[in-house]
């Protein structure tokens, strides 16, 4: 290990919190999706760090599955952004309150 695992965890935790803040605070659908991307990348770095800590390749393989999952998620959610924009003419999350949540 080039650095202690605690530092990797602290770094990815900070990055995860930034993504979470972006998801919770921003009202633009594109920025919410970007926050999700940041969180998924922070998790990926944790997995790679764990892989280096225990000298096993499994963590890196999970990062690859995470990437495949992310690309599927992004394709679906961006298609939904296009669809919602076509429905209401905006991408602000506050406009989509049809379910009175």
């Amino acid at each position: 290990m080039i650095v202690p695992m605690v530092h990797i965890l602290a770094f990815s935790g900070a990055m995860f919190l930034m993504g979470l803040a972006c998801v919770l605070a921003r009202r633009n659908l594109i920025m919410i999706l970007i926050g999700v991307e940041i969180m998924l990348n922070a998790v990926g770095l944790t997995l790679a760090g764990a892989s280096a800590l225990w000298q096993q390749v499994d963590g890196q393989i999970f990062v690859i599955f995470l990437m495949a999952m992310t690309s599927a998620e992004v394709s679906i959610s961006l298609a939904m952004v296009v669809y919602l924009r076509r429905q209401k003419g905006t991408v602000e999350a506050d406009a989509f309150d049809g379910m009175k949540g």
């Binding site: 290990m1 970007i34 926050g35 770095l45 892989s51 499994d58 999952m69 961006l78």
Partner: protein
């Protein structure tokens, strides 16, 4: 040396992420996020995952971020550019971050990343990686391929332009 590079890159990634989530213009946010992903790719490389680092650049910075940019431009979400082009306050931080990343990449090219401080770092060769991926995790690979197929079908279905008729009272 690798340890120092790790901290420099971690700071760069955090700064790029922080700048990314505070931008008003989504295009600027995406550009900063690409910087953060390049820093993360170098971090993956330092942690002994060269294949993951390559895929981080190819898939995240290459494909997903371009998809984001494409959607932002297609829906015209970015505000109009000010006259005379962006000032140095706009492009200064991104040039600084990119210069740091380029410097770190050149440093990595010139030194041996596995011999950091005499401690042998873990290194997964693509051969080891491929054996584990397609032997132990073969079923998961199949499931992920199905998932990607479903995502493609779903994106096509949602994105079809004549998706149902506009219901009454609804703005198209």
């Amino acid at each position: 040396m690798a340890t120092i590079l790790f901290y420099i890159l971690a700071t760069t990634a955090l700064a790029a992420t922080g700048l990314c989530i505070t931008r008003r213009n989504p295009v600027h946010a995406v550009i900063y996020l690409v910087n953060a992903f390049f820093a993360l790719a170098l971090l993956f490389y330092l942690l002994g995952a060269p294949l993951v680092a390559a895929w981080e650049v190819i898939i995240y910075a290459g494909a997903i971020m371009v998809l984001f940019l494409f959607i932002i431009m297609m829906l015209e979400l970015a505000p109009a550019e000010e006259r005379g082009g962006p000032g140095w306050q706009r492009w200064g931080p991104v040039v600084l971050l990119s210069a740091v990343l380029l410097g770190c990449t050149l440093l990595l090219l010139t030194l041996d990343p596995q011999g950091g401080d005499g401690v042998p770092a873990y290194y997964a060769s693509p051969r080891t990686f491929g054996y584990a991926l397609f032997k132990e995790y073969a079923l998961a690979v199949e499931i992920v391929s199905f998932q990607l197929l479903f995502a493609a079908v779903g994106a096509f279905y949602v994105g079809k332009s004549d998706w149902g008729k506009p219901r009454k009272g609804e703005k198209r």
